[in-house]
């Protein structure tokens, strides 16, 4: 695979907004967990959640232009603008820019609101605005419209594997020369539906830190946010790191192999059943890290992992691993340095993705 340079990062999530906030949260090992209230048959449920703010969008877009844009798309827009600004491309010619958005669940609050319009008032009162904004590619469309980006646009929804799956196609666009840069990002949001499903599927929620490396217990906390990377073909200009390979698919009898010198950045997020898969997959001698306790459990977390990996590789030092004390994996947490990271994402019973990133070789 052709090497790809990560030139810019744009993030908003529970930890704050922008690459500096993400770096600070990773360094300090802490993030802000909010409390949300979700309706249920037993009455309002209080549960922890990582919420993302979008106030900084005002720096890039007039408020009037955002009137009909929902929270889901606003998070995407903010991530996109921040990544372009971080990569020095804001205000540049974007005619050769591709936009790729991955989302596990799409705009669930708006989807739910559309259903509400039917359920509450009858079919004839279905809301056209909610319907138009509930379409999965609405965020990518809003990003393209706001930026005037007229290159190819792609939205992928593959649940937990959305991010690595979309990255396969983004990489090909660059390799084929279809575009000179890709604004690649992921978005997921917290909504009543997502909160309620978390409660039903995972039991009562507590505001304890996620313990992603403690594979025996359920500790996931839902999160929302957007993580965008500005990707280009590798050149001599400054970048955070390079993406060397993107490998994704399904395993049957095969076993995964990893680069010997790579730190494994695990996408474990406190979901017990997935924790068990990571435990079974990660070789015992591996050096491992995991930062989902900074941004929460959501399909888009895989893009936050890539952003964290890019920051580590730029600095050359691994951030402390939150929750490492509870680690019961065979891998060794708390590595000090690394020049190569393999971001490992597992889902379902046999789906996997391994994205290998490496530090830039300085001349």
């Amino acid at each position: 695979m052709m090497r790809i340079a990560v030139k810019g990062i744009g993030v908003t999530g529970g930890f704050g907004c922008g690459v500096a906030d993400l770096a600070a949260a990773l360094k300090g090992g802490i993030s802000r967990v909010s409390e949300i209230t979700v309706p249920s048959a037993q009455g309002p449920l209080q549960m922890p959640a990582f919420r993302a703010e979008t106030e900084r969008l005002d720096e890039f877009v007039p408020k009037r232009a955002l009137r009909r844009i929902d929270h889901y798309s606003k998070m995407g827009l903010l991530g996109a603008y921040l990544a372009l600004a971080d990569g020095g491309m804001l205000g540049s010619d974007l005619s050769r820019l591709g936009v790729v958005v991955a989302s596990g669940y799409g705009a669930t609050a708006t989807t739910f609101a559309f259903l509400d319009s039917i359920i509450g008032d009858g079919d004839i009162c279905a809301s056209p605005t909610h319907f138009a904004n509930s379409v999965h590619n609405s965020a990518a469309a809003n990003i393209s419209i706001m930026l005037g980006a007229k290159g190819p646009s792609l939205t992928v929804s593959q649940f937990d594997m959305s991010v690595p799956s979309a990255l396969v196609s983004a990489s090909q666009w660059l390799a084929e020369g279809r575009v000179d840069a890709v604004l690649f990002g992921a978005i997921d949001e917290v909504s009543d539906l997502i909160g309620y499903l978390q409660h039903r599927q995972r039991g009562p929620q507590r505001a304890c830190p996620i313990s992603p490396l403690s594979t025996g217990e359920e500790s996931s906390i839902i999160g929302e946010g957007a993580a965008f990377l500005l990707l280009t073909r590798k050149d001599d200009s400054l970048a955070y790191c390079t993406i060397e390979t993107v490998d994704t698919g399904s395993l049957y009898q095969e076993e995964l192999s990893f680069p010997d010198d790579a730190l494994l950045l695990l996408g474990a997020d406190g979901r017990r059943e997935l924790g068990a898969r990571y435990r079974a997959t990660v070789p015992g001698h591996s050096r491992v890290a995991c930062y989902t306790s900074i941004y929460g459990s959501m399909p888009a977390a895989a893009a936050f992992d890539l952003a964290a990996a890019a920051l580590i590789l730029q600095n050359g030092r691994v951030y402390p691993i939150p929750g490492a004390a509870g680690c019961d994996m065979d891998g060794i947490p708390v590595p000090l340095e690394t020049t190569r990271i393999c971001a490992l994402k597992l889902a379902g019973i046999n789906e996997y993705a391994a994205v290998t990133l490496s530090r830039l070789q300085l001349p």
């Binding site: 138009a132 590619n137 469309a141 979309a166 698919g249």
Partner: protein
């Protein structure tokens, strides 16, 4: 590593209101038959019963969304057509790229109704959605090991999935790719499109002066794409070739195409550039042709400018608008028409519209040549185009 265009297509499968396999569909198209009717699989409180194109006689298993079941049906036909059995598939790295609009949406109406009513609804509808991601279902069903992608580019999803799968083959990401689209009819899209006031209350009339909008449909189509190395090893024949793919965003409006068709023009230009093919080589265009006033105006304007005199048609008069499946169904129809040297009449068209750039073919029409173009326009301003050719065109 990027292999050159074209990419071989070795298998086709299709199911829609026009038929449950490709041969039956083509027979329906050439006969000019169509039978849109009020929905039978769901009810609506709309005073008007907007016609739809349902796939009759097809029942999905309870554990899967109908979308994924339709997709599996089309995959089985496509794999049989390609001569790929399970044993052969297991020796290859096979990717799956499928377009859809509803196949990955968390929007079960009954679940939400019960939840809003203060109940603790059964989670089964949500769990069914979670295990029904169309691309993942296909990979799981056939034990495929390669990349898996569900494309949700609204109504261009099917065309994009085919183009992206070709990109994977070119990049050596997989040896074989199963690509296409699948979507089912349901109350959510039915009510949504009616709310946007782009649905016709009579059988749709693409490119007609009296067109009022689209009719929804459902279905799936799949194509098997193979690398030349794989095809050589297994001595498979190329039924057709994907000669080029282009896509571009209007960056204009969430639900309306840009009036000058700028994005569509870019997409067509990119598709032509892949194989260095010129507009003169195109024997016909399978247009998006939804029957909405805006879509048909923009599309006919662009075709008149870029492909003047080239016959075009919309097959949505036979299938309805199958959303994420449309591009794939139309790609399969396009190949079948190239093979037969004949395109069906554009169902629903009878009165030319002086405001449009041209008129579609009215009855079955002989076409010569080896190349055809199929295009999709979508919400979000997505425009996607693929160029398809017979064996002689490669």
């Amino acid at each position: 590593m990027t292999h050159p265009w074209p990419i071989a297509i070795t298998g086709l499968g299709c199911i829609c209101a026009a038929g449950t396999n490709l041969d039956d569909c083509m027979e329906t198209l050439y006969s000019g038959r169509r039978a849109p009717a009020a929905p039978t699989r769901f009810t609506s409180s709309h005073p008007t019963r907007y016609p739809v194109f349902e796939v009759s006689g097809f029942n999905e298993p309870p554990e899967l969304l109908r979308t994924s079941a339709l997709g599996l049906h089309a995959v089985r036909d496509a794999l049989a057509d390609a001569g790929l059995d399970l044993e052969t598939l297991r020796g290859l790295r096979v990717g799956v790229c499928v377009g859809t609009t509803v196949g990955s949406a968390m929007n079960n109406e009954q679940f939400c109704r019960d939840y809003r009513a203060g109940l603790d609804p059964d989670l089964e509808p949500i769990e069914r959605i979670m295990r029904s991601n169309p691309a993942a279902v296909i990979a799981r069903e056939f034990g495929l090991t390669g990349p898996c992608q569900t494309v949700v580019n609204a109504c261009a999803s099917g065309t994009d999935a085919v183009g992206l799968a070709a990109s994977w083959i070119r990049g050596g990401v997989c040896d074989v790719a199963i690509a296409g689209g699948a979507d089912e009819l349901g109350r959510i899209t039915y009510n949504g499109f009616i709310s946007l006031m782009i649905t016709d209350d009579s059988p749709c009339k693409p490119f007609d002066r009296n067109r009022k909008g689209l009719n929804l449909g459902e279905g799936a189509a799949m194509l098997v794409l193979e690398s030349e190395e794989t095809r050589t090893k297994r001595r498979s024949r190329a039924r057709s070739y994907l000669l080029g793919y282009g896509s571009a965003c209007d960056a204009h409006h969430l639900t309306a195409p840009k009036p000058d068709g700028e994005g569509l023009r870019y997409a067509i230009a990119e598709a032509f550039s892949c194989c260095g093919i010129s507009a003169e080589a195109v024997s016909f265009v399978n247009a998006h042709g939804t029957g909405t006033p805006d879509n048909d105006r923009v599309e006919s304007l662009v075709l008149a400018d870029l492909l003047p005199g080239v016959p075009f048609l919309s097959t949505k008069g036979y299938t309805g608008h199958t959303l994420g499946a449309a591009g794939a169904i139309e790609a399969v129809f396009t190949i079948a028409c190239l093979e037969r040297g004949m395109i069906p009449g554009s169902a629903g068209f009878s009165t030319p519209d002086p405001d449009l750039g041209g008129t579609p073919v009215e009855g079955s029409t002989k076409v010569e040549g080896m190349v055809a173009l199929s295009e999709s326009l979508a919400f979000g301003g997505n425009n996607s185009v693929i160029l398809l050719g017979t064996r002689g065109a490669a």
